[in-house]
Point group: C2
Chain length 250, copies 2
DNA sequence: TTGCAGCCTGACGCTACGTCAGGGTCAAGG
DNA sequence: CCTTGACCCTGACGTAGCGTCAGGCTGCAA
């Protein structure tokens, strides 16, 4: 792909790609004889990461060091981004609440103190704060998590993990063909094992996130296809069971 | 207040306040004999607005024109900010979902197409997009809303509105002293009237937002005090009724 | 072969500040 | 009374992340 196509796909300008090339953040892996930039799939992967980190407020130079760190696997980046995005979510929710509070205060004739009104801004700095939280919290448990996870897996580990996954899927299918409802205890128990298997082997997956995955299994054809291949109707069954289990867990 | 205090309160640097002064975005309303900047409460109000708009990605120049527009009342700004913040909330949620999707895809060995992965970035530009949505959507219904709302109220309107509010509060209090549960139909009906009165007279207040207000009535002492002054226990009563009504409405 | 869209490389401009430099101000303590 | 350290002032220059020409080559469709 050439610059124009990549730019259109990623929603950035050609100039931006030129810039990333010059500063060495993202250099296309090839050029045509005429000097046209040629972007390979791997370059798109990297661009994707770059844009995520940029959106999260990281300076480009830091993005480069993050992505070029030899010991950082892709999964670790995803986990980090997930954490930071949820932090942003919380912050935005707090700001929404603050604005609502002010609207209500005005309509009731109550006036807020300056401290209250600036509460949500307190010493923030959108980028640095998130990066800081990351530094102090992220790399304690999550770094350890990252280390003992996929990066360190041997072939045997992968075989075992695949087997675990297949086992759980088979038990879902068995429950379904036995006519057990998807929101029954038996199905939910399998769902809970599914969640814990994800936690053990891949990434931290709280109930809420697991419910999101459940929804995706029926909404996204790729995941639907994965389950339908095992047994027809299994995608919907697993989806329901997973969401029911999430509701049960709280 | 002098620069340092304001900076600490608002979570910005002194340099930032200097900058805002020089470009005329926020000039303190006074100076000491020695030339020290003196910020009045009104200046803090303005700073608050500036920071909100800045956070939403507006360029400072545009913030200035927005805030200096003679026909824009504070309520309109709050409504606009509320809309934009919710747009950001949705976008962030979409990004969280996208990252979760990718994590799950990796753990299941499915690989996503570039289009899917850049979906969430598509033609965005964090500031402009929000500003654009604002231009096209906001100023159609909401501008009309703004116009016929508080800005145009006469003294009589205010008297009527105050009376309406007092009436609803009295009916809440009556229901409570009658021993009617806060989640009964009677109490929820009053809550619904409360919501509709806010919509008519002040700002658009969907069920979800109303529930948020309900929570605030018991969490924030200012609002609690407002209701407790009418009758002890009324804050909790109204809060419960409002949240129950929001749940009822869906 | 002739457009015209798309690509290239400088190079300068712009926003929203960060960061000194050089110098007054103010309240507390010696 | 005087000094000291924290705070304030005004330039002035620097920086990040591009936007925006300018001047020129490339590629493909008519």
């Amino acid at each position: 792909m050439n610059v124009g196509e990549v730019a259109a796909l990623a929603g950035v300008t050609v100039r931006t790609l030129h810039h990333y090339d010059r500063i060495g953040l993202l250099s296309p892996s090839g050029r045509t004889a005429a000097g046209y930039r040629q972007y390979a799939p791997a370059d798109l992967d990297r661009l994707h990461q770059v844009l995520l980190y940029r959106e999260l407020g990281f300076p480009l130079e830091e993005v480069a060091t993050l992505l070029d760190a030899p010991d950082a696997d892709p999964e670790a980046h995803l986990r980090r981004q997930h954490r930071l995005l949820r932090a942003r979510l919380e912050r935005t929710q707090a700001m929404v609440a603050a604005v609502e509070k002010e609207m209500e205060a005005r309509s009731m004739g109550i006036s807020l103190t300056p401290e209250e009104r600036f509460e949500v801004f307190g010493e923030h700095d959108p980028a640095q704060y998130e990066a800081e939280v990351e530094e102090r919290w992220g790399e304690t448990d999550a770094y350890a998590q990252s280390k003992r996870k996929t990066a360190a897996y041997t072939k045997d580990d992968w075989v075992r993990i695949k087997a675990e996954g297949a086992d759980i899927e088979a038990r879902f299918a068995a429950a379904m063909t036995d006519g057990v409802p998807a929101d029954s205890d038996r199905a939910m128990d399998v769902a809970e094992e599914h969640r814990q298997q994800i936690c053990r082997n891949f990434y931290d997956c709280p109930a809420e996130m697991h419910a999101g995955l459940g929804r995706m299994y029926v909404e996204d054809e790729r995941f639907t296809a994965h389950y339908e291949e095992i047994a027809p109707g299994l995608a919907q069954y697993v989806s329901t069971a997973v969401q029911a289990n999430a509701a049960r867990q709280g």
